[in-house]
């Protein structure tokens, strides 16, 4: 077992312990919000998955820039892995968002700036994954995807700042550089612990997916080499 495997297992163990802890904090320790009732507890998963979604797309940006600069497969593998995980977390952000909105706003969905820009973000990275699956392969496909990964990231700050730029019914930001909302200290603690937990879980998932992508590329290389041998 190499150092990478040890780190992966350690992250899995840590995130497992932290998930149990955060579930205890969410369902038992933190008080129920008096206006929104129990559905407010969705917020402790909605905000962290949103943060991780943004973080994943930042990794796509880094991987894409790295690939265009260095032309190394490693950067492309990082961008692809982060995009896949980012789409999963953004899907969860949208799903938990609608489940929070229905009891609070009375509707599953509204074309609010924050919701609409988030849906656009999700569609951009779904399109990125579709490009990887159905578009050209090899260096050409990786180059196209890198450009899309960089351009797609423009929507991330738009999503985050949309609640300040346009009129919205979405609550104010509670984390990040533009945070203005106020939160009870116990609720804030749970939110932070949950955010750290999901960030650790994200790092684990990224390492796992990165390793998987590397193996997929290795197989393609070996297959190409094997077919060249049989031609000779």
């Amino acid at each position: 077992m190499d150092r990478y495997d040890v780190l992966r297992r350690l992250l899995l163990l840590t995130s497992g312990i932290m998930v149990v802890t955060v579930l205890y904090l969410i369902f038992i320790w933190v008080p129920t919000e008096k206006n929104l009732g129990v559905s407010q507890r969705i917020f402790y998963i909605h905000v962290p998955v949103a943060w991780v979604g943004f973080l994943a797309f930042l990794f796509v940006l880094i991987g894409s820039v790295g690939y265009l600069w260095r032309r190394s497969r490693g950067w492309d593998q990082l961008a692809y892995s982060a995009a896949e995980i980012g789409v999963i977390f953004t899907t969860l952000m949208l799903m938990t968002g609608v489940l929070w909105a229905k009891p609070v706003w009375g509707v599953w969905w509204t074309w609010d700036p924050r919701l609409t820009t988030t849906l656009i973000l999700w569609l951009i990275y779904v399109a990125y994954l579709m490009l990887r699956s159905y578009g050209p392969g090899g260096d050409k496909g990786a180059r196209y995807a890198a450009v899309m990964g960089i351009a797609g990231f423009i929507d991330v700050p738009i999503v985050y700042l949309s609640i300040y730029w346009w009129r919205t019914v979405h609550p104010q930001a509670l984390v990040g550089p533009a945070a203005r909302g106020e939160l009870d200290s116990q609720m804030y603690t749970v939110l932070m612990v949950s955010t750290i937990t999901f960030t650790i879980l994200f790092i684990y998932l990224l390492m796992e997916r990165f390793s998987l992508r590397k193996s997929e590329d290795n197989i393609e290389e070996i297959k190409a080499y094997a077919s060249s041998l049989s031609v000779k």
């Binding site: 129990v38 559905s39 789409v87 799903m95 489940l99 009375g106 879980l201 094997a226």
Partner: protein, 94 residues
């Protein structure tokens, strides 16, 4: 199931989910502002199914994804080893 089929399946499921979520929007008559104003009258436990739904979906997705990746990783490592062995055999013959 190949990786492409799985991604295609995930995308289709995602798109259907989004469509299902958005469809009721077009038939809505509720005023969001009125609803926000009336949330003070809501019973604290009245929204338990939404809470249950949100956490169930989230954990199912996470564990499903982790399980898929670990299975796939194992399969790929085995495949790499088989291919390496085959190539080594070919090298010996040549």
């Amino acid at each position: 199931m190949s990786r492409f089929n799985l991604i295609r399946g995930l995308i289709i499921v995602g798109l259907i989910s989004i469509m299902l979520i958005i469809t009721p929007v077009f038939g809505q008559e509720n005023n969001i502002a009125d609803n926000i104003g009336s949330i003070n009258n809501v019973q604290p436990e009245a929204n338990l199914p939404f809470l249950f739904g949100a956490y169930s979906i989230a954990w199912l997705v996470f564990f499903g994804y982790v399980f898929y990746m670990s299975q796939k990783n194992r399969e790929l490592r085995t495949e790499v080893q088989i291919l390496r062995d085959k190539l080594a055999d070919k090298g010996d013959i040549g």
